[in-house]
């Protein structure tokens, strides 16, 4: 069990509203295993149950059914909190405080004694590139700077596990890259990162594994390469004889022919060579061959739509 940074077993969370009789099932029988040292992408549209799951992991709310373990201990175990950190989505800090003051405040919550506290705070300000803004009130910070302060407060305790909720939400593209680099840097240090997001373009590049959550249920889980494999190659040819259409279709792709113009969508499994051979043997003329890689976005949309159709 301690191989996992996070493990949930049939985790279910139902909210029974004060006024409505029927409870809302935010998370349904979720089984999650996050290995130590990996970047785990926890994906899903808004309202999929990501934040609910995270709150259970942090012990802020309690599971209705099932179990959740963090760093080998039940979620909410007080000793866990020395070894994990959490960055909520769009956090607002006590914005009258300066960057240095807020980090000192959080360091005191960790019980880091002086003089280590000051040293650690300075170090982290340096690390997130806010040394020069250390004595400015947070309310003067840009969104990106606030997010970096948020990350810095996550690192105060040198955690084994970081849980980041939408870490790039609302940031400009340059700040995205900053955060992404920091995430990679943290993995290099052997930390586990659990990143929830509904923004895909950045995360897909750094996650080792992702889980896709929809309506409280896990609909997909796996290594990124595996999930993204199975793109296709598009071939366009002219002056193609109608007789080859049938053999080409038998190779497993989708093919259409109009006025001698052939368009083939062939799975990316090497069979495209044989399609080309067939075209040429029938006297056709290949105009273009273009590979289409599957993106996480495609996967995401396919998965969610597929899930919602059911």
């Amino acid at each position: 069990m301690s191989d996992y940074a996070i493990k949930t077993v049939n985790l279910t969370k139902r909210y029974s509203g004060l006024w409505s009789k029927t409870p809302v099932e935010a998370v349904k029988k979720l089984n999650l295993e996050v290995h130590r040292g990996e970047i785990f992408g926890f994906l899903g549209p808004n309202g999929a149950g990501k934040t609910t799951t995270i709150k259970v992991l942090l012990g802020i709310i309690y599971p209705t059914e099932g179990e959740a373990y963090v760093l080998g201990k039940p979620a909410g175990d007080p000793s866990n909190h020395y070894n994990l950190s959490y960055l909520p989505e769009n956090p607002y800090f006590y914005d009258y405080m300066t960057g240095e003051e807020i980090l000192t405040f959080y360091a005191r919550l960790f019980g880091i004694p002086e003089p280590d506290r000051t040293k650690r705070v300075r170090e982290l300000l340096d690390r997130v590139g806010l040394s020069r803004a250390a004595n400015q009130p947070i309310r003067t910070y840009s969104k990106g700077m606030q997010q970096r302060i948020g990350l810095a407060q996550c690192l105060l305790n040198d955690p084994q596990l970081l849980i980041l909720d939408e870490p790039t939400a609302g940031l400009d593209p340059i700040a995205h890259i900053d955060i992404r680099d920091m995430i990679l840097d943290l993995r290099a240090q052997g930390k586990t990162l659990f990143i929830s997001s509904h923004q895909l373009s950045d995360v897909e590049r750094v996650c080792d594994r992702v889980a896709i959550l929809n309506r409280g249920e896990m609909v997909k889980l796996g290594k990124l390469e595996e999930l993204l494999s199975g793109g296709h190659v598009e071939l366009i040819a002219e002056k193609v004889n109608e007789g080859v259409l049938e053999p080409i279709r038998n190779l497993g792709g989708r093919a259409s022919l109009h006025d001698g113009r052939l368009i083939v969508e062939q799975p990316d499994d090497g069979t495209i060579d044989r399609v080309i051979d067939l075209v040429r043997s029938s006297g056709g003329h290949v105009i273009s061959v273009k590979p289409y890689r599957r993106t996480l976005e495609d996967l995401f949309v396919e998965t969610i739509q597929g899930g919602n159709r059911q």
């Binding site: 942090l58 909190h81 950190s85 800090f93 005191r108 960790f110 019980g111």
Partner: protein, 259 residues
């Protein structure tokens, strides 16, 4: 404990920067400053005017500041999600609630200190004397406001700020009236036990805010009080115990609370 004090400090730092609270405090200070100008309303006694009016303003400001500050303490943390960064640290929920209450009390201490100094200055200036009894009165009102803060904080663990305004205000009003009410009932032989007993129970259960209003003998210094020291000590002990009671109850609810 360090975490608790850090939370108290942050709460204090935030509260004293809250515009609405500063406006109330400033208004109270200005009214205190000009209170001697109301003398024509005061009948014969300038002492009555300056002391009663001053205490009135201070209590009113203290009450509003306590309620307005404490309705928001916990809900705001949840709303802006700072509470998640705090509770995901090695901070117990009771530490969070305790830190909030201590921060609120520290803020009230600051507020009372400011208003109290102004008040002492005004009384020194208009009455030509420094009356240490005024400090006594101020301390009692400080405890009254602190108790009210604990009441409001308690309600804030399970009701919305808007509801809390009315709830806390209502409890404050009731807690101020119950003693007089019971006193009146006890003096009236026609009241049946059916009426008297519920009033007695309510008086004993509700936080009693009337206990802290000791300004009358300060305004009318001829009065001789029985067991004054015992009264003050017991009333302060009462405030502290009731605050601990509310704190424990708040923690009890907050521990179960899902955010």
């Amino acid at each position: 404990m360090n975490a608790t004090f850090a939370l108290a400090g942050a709460t204090f730092g935030e509260a004293i920067r809250k515009r609405i609270l500063l406006v109330i405090l400033l208004a109270a200070l200005v009214i205190l400053l000009i209170s001697p100008a109301f003398e024509p309303f005061a009948g014969r006694g300038q002492r009555t005017l300056v002391i009663s009016f001053g205490f009135g303003i201070i209590q009113l400001a203290g009450t509003f500041i306590a309620i307005i500050m404490c309705t928001g303490l916990i809900p705001t943390e949840i709303e802006r999600r700072t509470i998640y960064t705090i509770l995901s640290k090695p901070v117990q929920r009771y530490q969070f609630v305790l830190g909030k209450l201590l921060g609120a009390i520290a803020t009230l201490g600051f507020v009372y200190l400011t208003m109290g100094l102004m008040f002492l200055l005004i009384t020194r200036w208009t009455l030509g004397e420094f009356d240490p009894k005024i400090v006594q009165g101020l301390i009692m009102f400080f405890f009254q406001s602190s108790l009210l803060a604990a009441v409001t904080l308690f309600f804030s663990t399970f009701v919305s700020p808007l509801v809390n305004y009315f709830l806390s205000g209502g409890v404050f009003l009731m807690g101020n009236l119950m003693s007089t009410f019971l006193d009146t009932i006890q003096r009236n032989p026609e009241v049946t036990p059916l009426t008297r007993i519920p009033v007695q129970i309510l008086t004993v259960l509700l936080p009693n805010f009337a206990n802290f209003n000791i300004q009358n003998p300060i305004i009318n210094p001829e009065q001789v009080l029985t067991d004054e020291v015992a009264y003050l000590v017991q009333t302060i002990a009462y405030a502290v115990i009731y605050m601990v009671l509310l704190l424990v109850a708040s923690i009890l609810i907050f521990n179960q609370r899902e955010m």
